[in-house]
Amino acid sequence: MAKTKSSNKKPQYIQRFSLKQRIEHWLFFSLFVTLLLTGLPQKFFETGWAADAVRLLGGLDFMRWLHRMAGWGFSIFVVYFLGYSIIGMLLGRVAPTMIPFPADLREVCKSLLWNAGLANRPLSPRFNYQQKFEFWGLLFGGLLMMVTGLMLYFPIQTARWLPGQFIPAAKTAHSYEAMLALLVIAFWHLYNAIFRPSVFPLDRTMIHGKISLDHLKEEYPLEYRRLFPDEEDGCAETPADPSSSR
């Protein structure tokens, strides 16, 4: 049914991310990459590629400066984003689409069953549980990186208020949290945005901000239902068929 529809008609698109959201995403992306490029050589300092990276970036001092500047940028961005979102939600101007609900937990279980072929595809809202998990993981991870990063940036001031052992502990946490973030992004986000068969070679939603109606209906049926409450066709418990999105 879905197949015939998509092959007959040109896919219709609908705006999913505003320009502001896309700029935020790519700003976050560039800060994240800068921090990784300037931070990982410091973690794996004994390797040859770390030495190459230091040489390429014109020395350790510049690399550290860049890391700290990107860290400041990251922190300012996170603080701004949190402030904007919280105030916006309180004023009712920003939709609380990223807030986790018990429904998300049900979605997780159902999704696992669906993947095993034991249940119907769960109905996702605007952001599914995977995106929510990634968002909150990065937010909490980012906050942890900010706090530990500041402790490492100002060790003398930190030692005025906290026992000295907090500094090596912060260094350990900073280093491992970065690894965790890198692995989550590499395995999870890149899979969902690039390597997933239904979106390969690239999910362009974050570039032009649009999503096709077919895709929206299939991946985020609740959002589709919210946007088109009058339309009834195919929105109910449609068993998903990833090949239909082609």
Binding site: A50, G164, A240
Partner: protein
């Protein structure tokens, strides 16, 4: 136990020593144009036939010495004894024969000595001396038994080094003072010890020499001249050789844990000056490269489990330093091109340079009492908690640094947990996708059984 080390990792290829032997004056034909180096540097010996004529002619001293004194003492006695035997037999012809032999013996004896050190020692075994223009008196006496015992004793002729003096009378030289003389003759060593000379040319002392600093040490200043011995400048004695010019460093070193063990207990497994500074390729320790190499230098011994076991010192000291902020900085500063903009603490900044003390010594810079003061050298604002940020070379453990240990443990469990979970989820997703596609190709619907 004896450990052979190459401090700083510099190794001179073995070929270079072979090369130096290949034109050793004893081993090869003299003045072979195929050999490296200027020919006048190489050892020349007077051709024996020429010497036969030169020797009696060139010096009256030798004529007197050999024709009269030596035959009288050494030859005349046995010959006279034999002669007396014949004398009593009344054979007058023998008297003439004996006198002829006695006269001939002089040149033969001289000829036998030319080309051997005896020729020179005939004079120089005596307490000769010479006054230089600046008033210093230079002894010209050679103690032959000491020279024979030296490493060159049975190998080198006097003329191998004293290339400008081939016979008697000696050519005139114009040394202003003793240093002039030493500097002139130090060139002789480089003829054979090419490898060592090349090493020396990399060092800070050579740079001093190039800057016309006459105080710069030459071969003979450390090794001696006529009494060089194989074990003369071993680990035990190196500090004394350096102390001639670096007395302040020596007094610091003497008090240190390394110096005390070497100088008082004759323990040669501890570093002497040359272990860290090397013997010939002595690098300027004020250079950044030297500074950044210090952790590696200390690690040469302190990461050696076999050696550290003797003293009950943990080999973690190196890895814990390297994994700390200072160690990472030093490792990466070493990798970059150009000098770092700021200094980072290396081993010697906390433990001391030549005055390194045992960490059990209450005077040590790194005992708890003194540690804050040591930190403040670089971190002036440090407060009482600050030294706690340094885990004293202990790897994090529940006793030593529980917070760091548990943070680490948490991530050791958390990262594989999260990433493993994500990968499983991802795998399921991919599996479902592939299964659906496969089924679609065959015209079936995988999820069809649930369709209402």
């Amino acid at each position: 136990m004896k450990l052979k080390r190459y401090p700083g990792g510099t190794k001179v290829p073995p070929g270079i020593y072979l090369e130096s032997w290949s034109h050793h004056p004893i081993c090869v034909k003299k003045n072979d144009p195929a050999l490296p180096g200027p020919p006048e540097r190489r050892f020349r010996q007077i051709p024996p036939l020429l010497a036969l004529f030169l020797a009696p002619v060139s010096g009256t001293f030798f004529m007197l010495g050999f024709l009269i004194l030596t035959p009288l003492i050494l030859l005349a006695i046995p010959f006279l004894a034999i002669g007396r035997l014949f004398w009593y037999k009344g054979a007058g012809k023998f008297k003439l024969l004996i006198v002829t032999v006695m006269i001939l013996c002089g040149p033969i004896w001289v000829y036998a000595q030319v080309g051997s050190n005896q020729y020179c020692l005939n004079c120089h075994r005596n307490p000769l001396s010479k006054n230089l223009p600046d008033g210093t008196k230079v002894s010209l006496q050679i103690h032959s038994e000491k020279y024979i015992k030296s490493v060159h004793g049975r190998k080198l002729l006097c003329t191998a080094c004293h290339t400008d003096i081939q016979t008697f009378p000696h050519p005139r030289r114009s040394y202003k003072d003793r240093r002039d003389l030493v500097m002139a003759y130090s060139k002789a060593c480089t003829t054979c010890h090419v490898g060592k000379f090349k090493e020396f040319q990399e060092g800070v002392h050579w740079a001093l020499l190039q800057a016309k600093d006459r105080r710069a040490p030459l071969c003979a200043d450390c090794h001696g001249a006529h009494t060089i011995s194989n074990d003369g400048l071993n680990g035990n004695n190196v500090p004394h050789a350096c102390a001639n010019c670096h007395p302040k460093v020596f007094s610091d070193y003497k008090k240190s844990v390394h110096g005390g063990a070497l100088l008082n207990k004759r323990n040669t497994s501890v570093p002497s000056c040359a272990t860290c500074h090397r013997s010939h390729t002595i690098e300027d320790p004020r250079k950044v490269e030297f500074r950044l190499n210090i952790p590696k230098l200390c690690a040469d011994c302190h990461a050696d489990e076999e050696l550290m076991e003797l003293y009950g010192i943990s080999t973690h000291v190196v890895s814990t330093y390297l994994n700390d902020f200072h160690g990472v900085s030093v490792a990466l500063y070493g990798a970059q091109n150009g000098a770092p903009a700021r200094l980072t603490a290396v081993c010697t900044d906390c433990h001391g340079i030549h005055d390194i003390r045992s960490v059990k010594d209450p005077e040590s810079h790194v005992v708890k009492k003194n540690l804050l003061k040591t930190c403040k050298k670089c971190h002036p604002g440090a407060t009482i908690n600050f030294p706690g940020a340094w885990l004293s070379h202990y790897p994090p453990s529940p006793d030593r640094a529980p917070l760091v240990y548990y943070v680490k443990l948490f991530y050791f469990l958390f990262i594989p947990g999260v990433v493993g979970g994500l990968v499983i989820h991802l795998g399921l997703d991919l599996f479902h996708d592939i299964r659906t596609r496969w089924a679609a190709r065959k015209g079936k619907d995988v999820d069809g059984q649930d369709e209402e």
